[in-house]
């Protein structure tokens, strides 16, 4: 196997960034040109991220495709390699890059039907995408944070301008809560920089520093909460259901699908990998918050009638599993956490794609208003059921692979938490199947006779996502090998 090339890692975030710049000079009246450019760009991102994932050699070095370009060094407080553009991925980042590539492809397709200021929408969407890709491949803490913020800020405009139902409220709440998290991360980054005294933000060098234990105990939770807000960590989750509910389709997809994983990724990259003793100290706490979120989100979802709010709480619940997995501190649980990040990303993207497709026609998302929709929208229903089954952890689908690892990891660490986690899966089945039988089955409500089945673009997008769900569910080795090897061999804190 070959290593992924550093240029490919550059390309994944330069393509969306370049596309965004290019779009700025295209007149907004030229819709077909806009569609052509974004189609090409989306496809290129998809192909490159698949390539990067496949090329990542899980038997090779920890970070692959590493290359750096110095931005500033030996200036003021900065020493050698002060701030650099340094790219490189490990198995975890490889899976996350793949996730982003897979989600942005249908995300692009379904956004072509936006009538209002499509050009501006794509500019912001692609800046956001560049931020996400950048965060996953950066190995310099300073630039990492730069890209992290780049992924967050466009959300405000995307929701505020193109959103629906209480969009200003949703956008404002989301932005303020996430920025509060950023402040914590920002503080922690500089504290770590100062404490290490190396004069560099290079993560690989910082990983080698043995920080004082008390220092770690103080700053680990800062990073965990700061990033955790983005991962909808209980009790800082309340931006998430409202934010999802008001965001436009492609933004919900990217947001729930990828952005929330950025938070969990940050907890791993900056938290556990840099401050392992702090992580060890706080892991039980993370686990308690995780299992609380899992149960809390699932039980709240039972009472939701808005389809998007239900999915939002379901996301809170599923991201709770990720925290449970990280809290186990064993390889199986951690592999489960990362697998769950991937699996949940794909299935939530599929959920939001479908909900968006229906909302655009019906302008209604209230579950009790629907009945027997399977008659009017059979293909749509099939895809929705697939996403739902993946979400409730049906074996043979991606969700089960991830959840199984988390359950087993949790049983190894704390059997009670493991038991509760398995129970949560049953509650998930309850709220999803209640929704199915209410909205999809039963007598058809004639009010929705004007609705049409899934559009061609949505069908293609849903096929890509559903295909990934089944592929990972039936043949998880490509994911498990890359992720578990990285965890087992490069994160000493996490043991077998």
């Amino acid at each position: 196997m070959t290593e992924p090339d550093a240029l490919a890692l550059l390309a994944v975030f330069l393509i969306p960034l370049g596309t965004a710049l290019l779009l700025m000079v295209v007149p907004s009246t030229e819709r077909s040109l806009l569609i052509g450019i974004t189609a090409l760009s989306g496809f290129a991102m998809f192909i490159i991220s698949v390539m990067v994932f496949l090329q990542y050699d899980f038997e090779g070095a920890q970070f692959q495709g590493v290359r750096s370009w110095t931005y500033m060094e030996n200036v003021g407080l900065l020493g050698k390699d002060g701030i650099q553009l340094k790219v490189g991925i490990d198995g975890i980042a490889a899976a996350m890059v793949l996730l982003t590539g897979i989600v942005i492809l249908p995300g692009t397709w379904v956004s072509w039907k936006i009538q209002d200021r499509m050009k501006d929408f794509f500019i912001l969407l692609y800046i956001l995408t560049a931020g996400v890709f950048g965060t996953f491949v950066m190995l310099d803490m300073f630039v990492w944070f730069l890209f992290y913020e780049m992924a967050l800020l466009p959300m405000y405009l995307l929701i505020g301008v193109w959103g629906s139902t209480r969009k200003e409220y949703g956008a404002m709440k989301l932005m303020i809560m996430l920025l509060a998290g950023s402040i914590l991360i920002f503080t922690a980054i500089f504290a770590v920089y100062a404490e290490a005294g190396l004069g560099t933000f290079d993560l690989t060098r910082l990983y080698g520093v043995q920080f004082d234990e008390d220092f770690q105990k103080i700053y680990f939770p800062m990073i965990a909460i700061g990033c955790g807000i983005l991962a909808a960590l209980f009790p800082f989750h309340s931006w998430s259901p409202d934010g999802h509910a008001s965001a436009p389709t492609a933004v919900s997809m990217l947001h729930a699908g990828v952005l929330m994983k950025l938070g969990a990724f940050g907890i791993i990259r900056l938290g556990f990998q840099m401050l392992p003793e702090g992580g060890e100290f706080w892991a039980p706490g993370l686990m308690v918050l995780g299992i609380t979120a899992a149960l809390y989100g699932a039980i709240s979802a039972l009472r939701q009638t808005d389809l998007k709010l239900m999915t939002g709480f379901s996301s809170v619940s599923h991201m709770g599993y990720v925290m449970v997995g990280l809290g186990t501190l064993n390889v199986i649980g951690w592999s489960g956490a990362v697998l769950q990040m991937f699996a949940h990303g794909i299935m939530t993207a599929l959920f939001f794609l479908l909900i968006g497709g229906m909302y655009d026609q019906a302008h209604n998302r209230d579950i009790p208003n629907f009945s027997g929709m399977a008659r009017q929208m059979p293909v749509w229903t099939v895809f929705f059921v697939i996403a739902g089954l993946a979400s409730l952890g049906l074996p043979g689908m991606s969700g089960f692979v991830a959840e199984l690892h988390i359950f087993i990891g949790a049983f190894r660490a704390y059997p009670l938490v493991g038991g509760l986690a398995v129970l949560t899966a049953a509650i998930t089945a309850t709220y999803l199947l209640r929704m199915f039988s209410q909205a999809f089955f039963g007598e058809f409500n004639e009010r929705w006779e004007h609705l049409r089945d899934i559009t061609f673009a949505e069908k293609c997008g849903a096929t890509v996502l559903a295909g990934t769900i089944l592929l990972m569910g039936l043949w998880p080795s490509p994911w498990v090998n890359r992720i578990s090897t990285t965890i087992a061999e490069t994160i000493p804190l996490v043991t077998l």
Binding site: D242, S300, R303, G396, G418, A426, F441
Partner: protein, 638 residues
């Protein structure tokens, strides 16, 4: 095709599923013939596997050449073998009982469905889903490890969900499908926990590996007991045992052939199969085994009493299935794996026969309630004759299959169980005979209670009656497999008792104890007579009994109010808790915490703005106070 290649068996219907699921609209006849041909091929291959199996059978013992009956590859592997999930198959006598049952009944049901489902909407989808079910079921019975079994276990559950909800335009069907899935899912929580607990102690999911580890003392008895009870929860859900039996009667919303295949002959016996497979471990944990025994006993009795009063022909059969599954668990509870598997074997034939027969009646009359039936034997002689054969087998009348297997269970219970348990189960057998007779009398004899549907009733087409006749033959003769001479004739000396027996134990020799068999026969006949006395003609006596004890009748009719109880728990407790949490999230976390925080800052900003008066003297005063404060602090520190 030998025992190593059994993985081909589920692959065939799976391929049919993919083909029909995606492309049935482009295939003539929506591809029903492909499903039937695929299934015929599976039956044929099962025959070949059976031959191979017999080849490794010598001197009543199963001696496969090393590795000949297993096949495995790594599905995923973490930490170089620390955590491995395999795809593995394993064939032994228990598998060899299951494979013919599943494949043969599936073939019968598919053929029958061509007639029964004729002209239905989603005809192609029906055959696709049914093929998916068979694939998952075959995978389940050849699984060599528990995790793969769990995968298949959920697969059959999904198929069951889709097929119960096949007529999803009916709200009741959608609700029934949901209920079935969620109820079994509750059991599956236990199953998965059990599997993980077993793995935690041994590091393997492999069934034979676990059994060996258990015998080598890898578990403490308490740990093993707890794990196995969790595991049994899965069986309770899937096999509709008390207290998770509530979904099976409702599952009758699905098309009748589906009820015959999934909810009588195959899927619901998955729990029995699981416990039978793991029985060597249950024997090491007597408390867990007792749980199996008493769960089976309670279920058998309760379900039989409910079957006594149910008015929907399919529901009577559903209660009967629940009750008969209870019999099988009783047998497992006393360690009689032979009796359990034997009853599973015969029950599959006579119960699928009864269901298909009831389907034939429903097909002809569009009536499901016994209120709308009666006197049909003249109109539908073949259906009536085969249905009666099935009922006699169910009632346990000699020469019919159920007699042999039920006798085995009762005998095993008498040998190794408490004597009161024997009396309870014998009483249940009596009830079985009564409700079977009642069902036959109300459906096929007496005066019709719905003239209109009676008048246009007709015998079903041959494609439906042919499977009925074949199954009727099997319902008659499949009990003979227990007899040594019959076994010898078919190539396995000693009959089924020499085929399936506890690992490390002795082959089970089938003997007809004359006295014991006489008692059983008399019990069954008494049941028949009671049934006839009460329900022949216009069922006057039955109505009188109903009025004599209306409370009991109502209690049974309402199924001991368990559905109401569960619905109440869901509505009040679970949804109540959900309402509280949703309220907490909305009011406390969101409006108080988040929005409240924002409002607090807004309020502070409003208050503080009044300090910005715009008057120079105010600012100068503030500066002066500040300077003074700095000086004071500096001086006091020095």
């Amino acid at each position: 095709m030998g025992m190593e290649q059994v993985w081909i068996l589920p692959a065939i219907p799976m391929a049919v599923f993919v083909l029909l699921g995606l492309f049935n609209a482009y295939i003539p006849r929506r591809g029903d013939f492909i499903a039937v041909l695929g299934m015929s091929l599976v039956v044929l291959l099962v025959g070949l596997v059976l031959l191979d199996f017999q080849g490794s059978f010598s001197d009543h013992e199963f001696h496969p050449p090393a590795g000949d009956n297993t096949y495995a590859f790594d599905w995923l592997n973490i930490g170089n073998g620390f955590f491995v999930i395999e795809f593995s198959t394993y064939v032994d006598a228990i598998t060899m009982v299951m494979l013919p049952v599943v494949s043969f009944v599936a073939l019968m049901v598919l053929v029958y469905s061509i007639g029964y489902m004729h002209g239905e909407k989603r005809y192609g989808w029906y055959f696709a889903t049914l093929s998916f079910f068979v694939a998952a079921m075959l995978l389940l019975v050849i699984s060599g490890n528990l995790l793969q079994l769990y995968l298949a276990w959920e697969g059959v559950g999904l198929a069951s969900y889709l097929l119960i909800g096949f007529y999803w335009e009916r709200q009741s069907a959608a609700e029934a499908a949901k209920k079935a899935f969620i109820t079994t899912r509750v059991g599956d929580v236990g199953l998965l926990i059990g599997i993980i607990l077993l793995w935690k102690a041994t590091g393997t999911f492999d069934i034979q590996g676990l059994i060996n580890a258990a015998h080598a003392g890898a578990f403490s008895e308490t740990y093993l007991t707890i794990s196995l009870i969790f595991l049994f929860l899965g069986a309770v859900g899937k096999s509709a045992q008390f207290p998770l039996h509530v979904w099976l009667p409702d599952a009758m919303e699905g098309p009748t052939p589906v009820s015959a295949l999934i909810h009588a002959a195959t899927m619901v016996v998955a729990g029995v199969y699981l416990v039978a497979r793991m029985l060597p471990m249950y024997e090491l944990a007597p408390i867990a085994q007792d749980v199996v025994l008493y769960t089976g006993l309670i279920t058998a009795l309760l379900a039989a009493t409910m079957g006594l009063v149910a008015n929907d022909i399919k529901r009577v059969l559903a209660f009967s299935t629940v009750s008969q599954l209870g019999f099988m668990f009783v047998a497992l509870g006393v360690g009689a794996v032979t009796a359990a598997m034997f009853h599973l074997f015969t029950h599959a034939f006579f119960k699928s026969l009864l269901f298909l027969g009831s389907g034939s009646v429903i097909h002809a009359t569009d009536q499901q309630e016994v209120e709308g039936l009666g006197g049909l034997w003249k109109k539908m002689p073949i259906t009536a004759a085969t249905f009666i054969i099935g009922s006699l087998a169910l009632a346990g009348i000699p020469i019919f299959a159920g007699f042999f297997s039920k006798d085995e269970i009762l005998h095993a219970l008498m040998d190794s169980g408490p004597s009161w348990a024997y009396l309870v189960l014998a009483g249940t057998a009596l009830l079985t005979a009564i409700y079977s007779t009642r069902l036959v009398l109300l459906t096929f004899f007496g005066k019709t209670r719905n003239v209109e549907s009676y008048n246009h009733a007709h015998e079903s087409p041959r494609i439906m009656t042919a499977p009925l006749c074949i199954l009727a033959v099997l319902a008659t003769v499949s009990g003979f497999f227990a007899i040594d001479q019959v076994g010898k004739l078919l190539g396995f000396e000693g009959g089924i008792g020499y085929l399936v027996y506890p690992v490390g134990g002795h082959p089970h020799e089938f003997k007809l104890y004359v006295l014991f068999a006489t008692v059983a026969t008399i019990t069954a006949l008494v049941g028949l007579i009671i049934g006839w006395v009460y329900w022949h003609g216009n069922a006057q006596r039955a109505n009188a009994a109903k009025e004599w004890a209306p409370e009991i009748h109502q209690l049974l009719l309402r199924r001991y109010y368990m559905d109401e109880l569960y619905q109440g728990i869901i509505n009040k407790v679970i949804l109540g808790a959900a309402a509280v949490i949703a309220w907490f999230d909305k009011r406390v976390v969101n409006e108080t915490g988040v929005d409240g925080g924002a409002q607090l800052i807004n309020f502070l900003g409003w208050r503080l703005k009044f300090t910005q008066t715009g008057r120079i003297p105010n600012y100068v005063l503030a500066m002066a106070v500040g300077v003074l404060a700095v000086v004071v602090v500096a001086v006091s520190n020095s």
